[in-house]
């Protein structure tokens, strides 16, 4: 929205490409590159020349990756602003880390289509292309709306809304105290406000932890392969691993303990857990394996519920289905190369169904796509790092909210200038509003009028 900002985004499709490119545009692009890139010469970079070096976190001194960096000075660039492109090794996590670093160093996450829009507004693209730009933005908008819809219903957004509620209540107390000095409204207990803000801050930090050091980033995601014996769970695991690890036999119940393997699905680290087949068994060792499996179900981020399509859907399958109740799972119909016998109950279809043949490899690519896009939503849809991007944007917003709240707590309670301190609270709300929608002055006034008897 604001042409003065410096923006950044991942401009290569997400996934396991050979390289990934982070593009930065705006007045601070060169400075940011200078801060994180070791390869420039002492006099800085020349325009339109490639430099080799390392991307280094200036705070920790950690080396993130080797990279090729090119600076394109205004106006000879795509946006007609100073543009820096960082080409690093591909892979979802790495490129995202570089983007996060760039944002930490002062850039803002680009809006969908913003590079193009800047190119246009700066006169780089001519009038004939204008319509196309609108289409691009429109397309992005629709995708963004779908994403926003998803997030509105989502957990994250609910949690952020709750944080906002708390902040709004505190702000309403302060604003009422400021705006209605003749209505004998006393400043509420400062400790109460402080406690409430600290709570909000803790919740924000919890969310931030979820972003930066959460399971997805640190360990990737865990996917449990479940199903009754001999439906091809281990074959599936091996196919996904592309080499044999688990013992594969046709004797039901060969896999008796949990096998863990990490596989890289389009750049997303996925820990695959193969399990003992769940069945109504009296074999003690097998029972032990099954107990482990049932324990693992709630811990997995996703369960691949494998069913043998060549056999009827039976009592054992139903047992597993019940064990999976309430957990996210994908129904995997294996042995699609054999005649299909299984009639799957209707209420199973909603979770998503993929037909595969673990033996021939048919459908495996689609399964990989499905797993990936369940975690990186919309990623598969247009090949762009949409959710990842908006996650960074959310994180960006949450981090700003955190900074404002910290600074609020530093100067609160203020003896003389509480309206100045309130700016931090307002800015924190504003930052969170970027995720869930703006808090308007009317929202604050609504709160005040419903809480306080105003009017002299």
């Amino acid at each position: 929205m604001y042409l003065k900002d410096t923006i950044a985004a991942i401009s290569t499709p997400i996934g396991e490409g050979g390289i990934g490119i982070v593009r930065i545009s705006g007045g601070a692009a060169e400075e940011i590159a200078g801060n994180i890139f070791s390869g420039k010469q002492s006099g800085g970079m020349q325009s339109h020349r490639f430099y080799y070096g390392e991307i280094i976190d200036p705070e920790s001194g950690d080396v993130l990756d080797e990279a090729m960096v090119v600076l394109m000075r205004s106006p000879r660039s795509y946006t007609r602003e100073d543009v820096v492109e960082i080409q690093c090794h591909g892979g979802y996590l790495l490129v995202r880390k570089v983007l996060e670093l760039v944002i930490r160093c002062g850039a803002r996450c680009a809006e969908p289509g913003e590079f193009t829009r800047r190119a246009f507004l700066n006169g780089r693209i001519d009038l004939l292309q204008a319509e196309a730009v609108i289409e691009v933005i429109r397309g992005k908008t629709e995708a963004a709306l779908a994403l926003a819809q998803h997030q509105r219903e989502g957990h994250l957004s609910k949690r952020i809304s709750r944080i906002k509620e708390g902040l709004l209540t505190s702000l309403a107390f302060i604003e009422a105290y400021l705006d209605f000095p003749e209505d004998d409204i006393e400043l509420p207990d400062c400790r109460q406000i402080e406690t409430s803000i600290r709570e909000s801050l803790a919740r924000i930090e919890e969310l931030l932890d979820g972003f930066s050091e959460g399971k997805v980033l640190r360990e990737g995601v865990s996917v449990l392969i479940a199903g009754k014996p001999n439906v091809g769970k281990s074959s599936l695991l091996n196919t996904l691993l592309r080499e044999k690890r688990a013992i594969v036999t046709s004797v039901p119940g060969t896999t008796r303990d949990i096998i863990e393997e990490v596989v890289n699905i389009k750049g997303l680290p996925v820990k695959l857990l193969d399990t003992a087949g769940i069945r109504d068994s009296e074999d003690e060792i097998e029972m032990e394996g099954m107990r482990l499996t049932l324990e693992k179900i709630p811990l997995a981020d996703l369960i691949l519920f494998v069913v043998d399509a060549s056999r009827p859907f039976d009592y054992e399958d139903i047992l597993i289905k019940e064990a999976l109740c309430g957990h996210p799972f994908l129904l995997v119909l294996n042995k699609s190369d054999l005649p299909v016998e299984a009639v799957v109950p209707d209420d199973l279809g909603s979770a998503g169904t993929i037909s595969i043949s673990a033996r021939s490899g048919e459908g495996i690519e689609r399964l990989r796509d499905s797993i990936f896009s369940l975690f990186i939503r919309n990623g598969a849809r247009d090949g762009r790092d949409f959710t990842a991007l908006s996650q960074v944007r959310h994180r960006d917003a949450l981090e700003r909210a955190r900074r404002h709240l910290e600074s609020f707590l530093q100067s609160f309670p203020a003896e003389t200038a509480i309206e100045f301190v309130a700016l931090d609270l307002r800015d924190a709300l504003h930052a969170l509003g970027e995720v869930t929608g703006e808090t308007t002055p009317d929202d604050i006034l609504d709160q005040i009028f419903s809480r306080f008897c105003i009017g002299k």
């Binding site: 604001y2 900002d5 963004a144 604003e175 309206e419 009017g455």
Partner: protein, 624 residues
């Protein structure tokens, strides 16, 4: 219809707080101006509370004054109690408030109007607008005269189809004792305006001789009283106290027992009332747990026995009014001189005006004050002043003066009106201003004096005084930045007493002042030179240094939004031809027809994505 021989540059309809500022501004800018009022004895009348200012309203008065308006000077000349509110809080929410002598205020304004060059005052009720090809040409009055004007400003207050309620009794009136304006709102409807209905109310006026003040707590003003106007040196008039009373359980019982006779609760009143100024029955119903409500007994003037009990407005029947006021301690035998009443009136939803206050449907027609859905003398005066300035500029063929949200509360006020509309009477609060820390009473002159001078409203002598003050501020800021601490032995003792023993040489005075626990008064001990500066300069310097971090942050916020604010949307822009907007957003934009992208972005429901599409289309010259 007789057409009057003279054509005016500006015709102002209504002589309330908006109309008076509008007429004075127009005339002072050299335009021939006609001020029409239903009752020429009632100019600048305070129909409700006898006071000016308060939180955010005091800010408005200072801004009006800085721009060259009259309100600040008026209250300084006629005020009988001045107080600065929020002195224990920071400078941005400190605000001036004063009790006015109502009759003096009215009489002085009449005299100012009568002495103003280029200004004619005439009594008359305007019944219709004369509009030709979408452009206003003049106004028609009840007695059959048509006055021709190049521009017309409507400031109709509560008079448009005014309907007064006392209990279930109701009658047509513009204010107790005044006739309503009956024809004009039909004329507006015929011209295509969307007209709505609002409600407000006022308490009874009490006979001061029947109040036992000896039992009441008195509240005095500040000593010395601090004037509103940057041009007033000293308040000369003797000051009077207010008194505090409280309602009690018995009062509340009386109200509850008679709610069925309230026009509000009986559903007789259709207009929407202000939440921040509820009637006493509203307070009792909405906050049943509150055992008492406070009221200030405010004198209506120095030469009258009439008393205004603030916060006790009601539309209950007259017999209930007797009982409820008399249930209050100190008012046991009080006599009511004028009954309390509610009034409903027509207004024109302000999404139909531009930021210049010119209406969108009719060229050269301007609206100011309650017709735009606002309440309050200060809000009205601010709009009146801007309408006066902008009609004069229009006649001069110049661009309108539009103040930004980061420049003035007046800018916030008008921008809120045109982008949000008014569903209830709009009152200014500091929480409405996102750049509140910059919009202070203390710096209103620094923000607006130049603009007032540029349009010709600020007198040369006032302007020179301002330039001098500003130069002193700049010089002092520079001096404090460059001069460094070189403490003598006695200074060291002083510093140690203040817990500043760690400070050594080479710390600048600016640095010292930035410490939260160190004030200008402390600095005087180390640096006697600042003693010679006027208090207003010292105050300004101290605020600018102490809060610089916050102030800079707000300046950056303004800078970031400036791109959107300065991007104008062509008046003829065709939203229906624009691809990619949702139906809802398109409908909103077509209804509001915002002047700038900034305005568009503040319309509720207009998404950032829509703004992107719009900005691209404007840049591409599409949609024309």
């Amino acid at each position: 219809m007789v057409v009057y021989e003279k054509q005016y540059d500006i015709i102002v309809v209504g002589a309330g707080h908006a109309g008076c500022e509008a007429a004075l501004a127009g005339a002072r800018m050299g335009r021939s101006t006609l001020l029409l009022s239903i009752n020429l004895d009632a100019v600048a009348l305070m129909s409700c509370n006898p006071s000016i200012g308060g939180l955010a309203k005091g800010h408005l008065v200072r801004e009006i004054d800085a721009l060259g308006g009259e309100m600040g000077k008026m209250i300084d000349a006629t005020g009988i109690q001045f107080r600065t509110l929020n002195t224990r809080k920071g400078p941005a929410v400190r605000a001036s408030r004063a009790q006015a002598d109502k009759q003096l205020y009215r009489a002085r304004m009449k005299r100012v109007l009568e002495n103003q060059e280029n200004l004619s005052l005439k009594q008359g009720e305007v019944t219709a607008l004369c509009v030709v090809e979408g452009e206003v040409r003049g106004v028609d009055t009840r007695v059959g005269v048509r006055f021709l004007g190049k521009t017309v400003i409507l400031t109709t207050g509560t008079f448009l189809r005014g309907l007064i309620h006392v209990g279930l009794t109701r009658y047509a009136g513009g204010r107790a004792g005044d006739l309503p304006a009956e024809g004009l709102s039909d004329s507006l409807r015929d011209l295509g305006f969307e007209v709505g209905r609002l409600k407000t109310g006022t308490p009874a006026r009490l006979d001061g001789r029947t109040i036992d003040f000896s039992r009441l707590e008195a509240q005095y003003g500040d000593d010395p009283p601090i004037p509103f106007s940057f041009s007033t040196l000293k308040i000369e008039r003797p000051q009077l106290p207010c008194h505090i009373v409280y309602t009690n359980e018995r009062t509340h019982e009386i109200i509850r027992a008679n709610l069925d006779r309230s026009p509000l609760y009986g559903g007789v009143i259709e207009g929407v009332g202000p939440r921040y100024c509820p009637s006493i029955e509203d307070k009792v119903v909405r906050f049943p747990e509150k055992e008492r409500h406070q009221s200030f007994l405010e004198p209506e003037g120095a030469d009258t026995i009439e008393i205004y009990p603030s916060g006790l407005s009601t539309s209950l029947p007259i017999d209930v009014q007797f009982a409820l006021y008399r249930s209050i301690e100190g008012l046991e035998s009080v006599e009511i001189m004028r009954p309390a009443y509610a009034i409903e009136y027509d207004y024109v939803d302000p999404i139909q005006i531009h930021s210049s206050l010119e209406t969108k449907p009719v060229r050269n027609l301007y609206h100011a004050g309650q017709i735009n859905g606002t309440s309050g003398y200060e809000e009205a005066a601010a709009q009146g002043l801007m309408a006066g300035i902008n009609t004069a500029l229009r006649v001069q063929g110049k661009e309108p003066l539009v103040l930004g949200r980061g420049e003035a509360y007046i800018g916030v006020l008008i921008d809120d009106l045109v982008t949000l509309g008014a569903r209830e009477p709009y009152r200014m609060f500091t929480s409405r201003a996102e750049y509140r820390l910059l919009l202070r009473e203390d710096n209103a002159d620094l923000r607006l004096r130049e603009k007032g001078h540029a349009v010709g409203l600020v007198r040369e002598d006032e302007y020179e005084g301002f330039l001098e003050k500003r130069a002193l501020i700049v010089a002092e800021l520079e001096r404090l930045r460059s001069e460094r601490l070189a403490p003598s032995e006695s200074d060291r003792v002083f510093l140690e007493e203040h817990g500043l023993a760690d400070l050594r040489n080479a710390v600048s005075f600016e640095h010292l002042l930035r410490r939260p626990d160190f004030s200008y008064r402390d600095l005087e001990k180390l640096d006697s030179r600042c003693l010679s500066l006027p208090e207003t300069v010292r105050e300004q310097v101290e605020i600018q240094i102490k809060y610089q971090g916050y102030i800079d942050r707000q300046l950056q916020q303004i800078e970031r939004s400036s791109k959107l604010e300065s991007c104008r949307i062509p008046e003829s822009f065709d939203y229906s031809a624009l691809q990619g907007l949702t139906a809802e957003v398109r409908e909103k934009l077509m209804r509001f027809r915002p002047d700038t992208l900034g305005q568009a972005s503040r319309i509720q429901g207009v998404t950032p994505a829509a703004i992107s599409i719009l900005s691209v289309a404007i840049k591409a010259g599409r949609g024309k």
